[in-house]
């Protein structure tokens, strides 16, 4: 029962032409700059817009195959979390979540029971009677997620689900969303322009530019071998799993990093390649994170050179061409990598 979509939509000067497959239980992130066609793709999958050509099907169910077949949104088993959630303001949180089951013919009492259970799942049991306007951004996002999942859809579409949140709420909600997505047996398509959301939440990235797929693959694969400058910049992020104990994080892949904010338990640590400094010898003084690395590869980008470094941990570093010349960087060169604790973001991985 894989989602198989061949989305071809032509409108005015814009043409979208992408192929997407999402297996049950899989989270695929559709990543791209503004205007790349992400929202168009979501609307076509949700049944809010027609395809010009191609098809959308889940297993044997054909949802759209022009010119003959078009199943409208209300008859597709989809759940959508919209960027600004679009919660119904005249209904309580509970009634918002119960709306889907009610619309699909579930008796009122049972719909409410289901809705209550989902609100409890997202940790909002005590806000069942609240109007959406009185909820915080994070709470509204969780109501929207519950509303989308309560009908047990075959396909879950998340359209920039974290974009409306402030930075601190975002970290927390992202970890929580990841937990709910792991429990969800259906197919999830996460649309985002934030690489961190995509890398943390998705099993596979599909990156589109100007209506076309430019690269797809698992996050680590895409990060290791970005095909375009845009992707290199987008996913050029060092992301590691580890276990935190205070300010020390033992990385799953070997090595340890000292971070600024104390944490406990399983975490992700992330830092930009520009934060990694390179030295020919072990630097004097006591930078907190210093470890030996070997150059594994070099990649020329517009104004910087991305250096692939093997070590514990293996990381990416962005340096200027002048540094490359000065340090005579070439595959096999032995160096010391230095990273400030304050450059590292740490967040719980639920």
């Amino acid at each position: 029962m894989t989602l198989d979509a061949d989305l071809r939509i032509t409108r005015d000067a814009f043409a979208l032409d992408i192929r997407l497959t999402v297996r049950p239980g899989e989270v695929v992130a559709l990543l791209g700059p503004n205007g790349a066609g992400k929202t168009t793709a979501v609307r076509a999958l949700a049944g809010l817009d027609h395809l010009s050509a191609g098809h959308v099907r889940v297993g044997d169910h054909v949802w759209d195959r022009p010119p003959k077949v078009f199943v409208p949104a209300e008859r597709r088993a989809v759940g959508v979390v919209f960027q600004d959630y679009l919660l119904f303001n005249h209904l309580s949180a509970l009634e918002n979540v119960a709306f889907g089951p009610r619309a699909r013919g579930v008796p009122r009492a049972r719909a409410r029971t289901q809705a209550r259970a989902w609100l409890a799942t997202v940790g909002l049991a005590e806000h069942a009677g609240a109007r959406p306007r009185t909820l915080s951004g994070g709470q509204a996002q969780r109501v929207a997620l519950a509303r989308a999942l309560v009908t047990q859809p075959d396909l879950l579409l998340l359209d920039e689900p974290l974009a409306a949140l402030d930075a601190s709420t975002r970290l927390h909600i992202r970890a929580e969303l990841g937990r709910h997505l792991r429990d969800y047996p259906g197919r999830t398509l996460l649309v985002t322009h934030d690489p961190l959301d995509a890398m943390v939440l998705a099993d596979r990235l599909v990156i589109i530019e100007a209506g076309r797929v430019v690269q797809e693959g698992p996050p680590t694969e895409v990060a290791r071998r970005p095909r375009t400058d845009y992707i290199a910049h987008l996913v050029g992020l060092n992301l590691h799993k580890g276990t935190a104990d205070g300010t020390t994080v033992a990385l799953d892949g070997g090595g340890a990093l000292i971070v600024a904010e104390p944490a406990a338990g399983p975490v992700h640590v992330a830092f930009p390649p520009s934060a990694v400094g390179l030295y020919p010898r072990r630097p004097a003084g006591s930078p907190r994170n210093t470890w030996p690395v070997t150059v594994a590869g070099l990649e020329q980008h517009a104004h910087t050179v991305r250096v692939h470094l093997a070590g514990s941990p293996s990381v990416l570093a962005d340096v200027t061409p002048a540094v490359v010349a000065e340090l005579r960087l070439a595959p096999g060169t032995q160096l010391w990598a230095v990273l400030k604790a304050t450059e590292i973001q740490t967040y719980a991985r639920g």
Partner: protein
């Protein structure tokens, strides 16, 4: 002390005259009203009948306008119709048309010899002119555009993405309209309803042309006022005061929208 804002006389004088022109007649009405005899006048059977007929007809008219006008507003605002602008213009014609012309048009079409009235009469034995039902039709013809315009404006201002959200939750178009769209435009519907009711209550031209003037059957308050002016001027004043009171009550209902002005 703060310097007083200068107010040119060329603007202030016409403004003052305009204000006086709008308020003095109403003040005069209140001052001239035979307050002592008010209960006596209001309780006469003819006036009771006219008052009751007016309230019943205006309310029936409003119900008719809501039933037909809200779907019509939805069609104009949401449906992808060819020539929608032209349809919208057609709907607003009765707004600017002299009501007496509307009455004549209704009489021509629905009269016993009219293209529609002829069949109503021969097939169903229904004759609408000069009946209470005729009063409702005449009032609806004049009042419905107020409701349609008001509701259509509210629909166009409402965010249609909420309707899309409802569709992704499995709601049919009709269910979406009932549970998502209607609550969102409720303020527009209330304003339109009040306007429509007030316009129906005050309708004179189309009513007297199409429904005539039969006490107890088609003589509404405005018609009674007009008639009483010749036979019993005091009664006319009392009826006018009653209508003025209703109008002020309507304004009170709409105060948040109009009197307070843009916020």
């Amino acid at each position: 002390m703060k310097a007083r804002q200068s107010r040119p006389a060329a603007l202030v004088i016409p403004a003052a005259i305009g204000l006086a022109f709008l308020t003095i007649p109403l003040a005069g009405l209140l001052l001239q009203a035979p307050w002592k005899d008010l209960p006596h006048h209001l309780l006469t059977p003819e006036i009771q009948a006219a008052l009751k007929l007016s309230l019943v007809c205006a309310t029936l008219t409003t119900a008719l306008c809501l039933t037909l006008g809200i779907p019509l507003a939805w069609l104009l605002a949401r449906a992808d119709l060819p020539g929608r602008g032209f349809l919208r213009a057609l709907v607003t014609v009765p707004l600017v048309l002299p009501p007496v012309v509307g009455g004549v048009a209704l009489l021509l079409v629905l009269g016993r010899r009219g293209p529609v009235g002829h069949y109503l009469d021969s097939w169903f034995g229904i004759s609408l002119p000069f009946t209470t039902a005729g009063v409702v039709l005449a009032e609806a013809f004049v009042a419905m555009p107020f409701l349609v315009i008001s509701v259509e404006g509210a629909l166009r201002a409402a965010d249609s993405r909420y309707e899309e959200a409802a569709a992704t939750l499995g709601a049919s178009k009709l269910l979406t309209f009932r549970r998502v769209t209607l609550p969102a435009i409720a303020p527009g519907i209330i304003a339109g309803t009040v306007l429509c009711w007030a316009r129906a209550l005050g309708e004179f031209g189309a009513t007297i042309t199409f429904a005539g003037n039969f006490p107890g059957e088609t003589t509404t308050m405005p018609l009674a006022v007009y008639l009483a002016l010749e036979t019993d001027p005091d009664a006319a004043v009392v009826l006018s005061v009653a209508l003025l009171a209703v109008s002020i009550a309507v304004l009170a209902c709409l105060r948040d929208r109009w009197i307070s002005g843009p916020r």
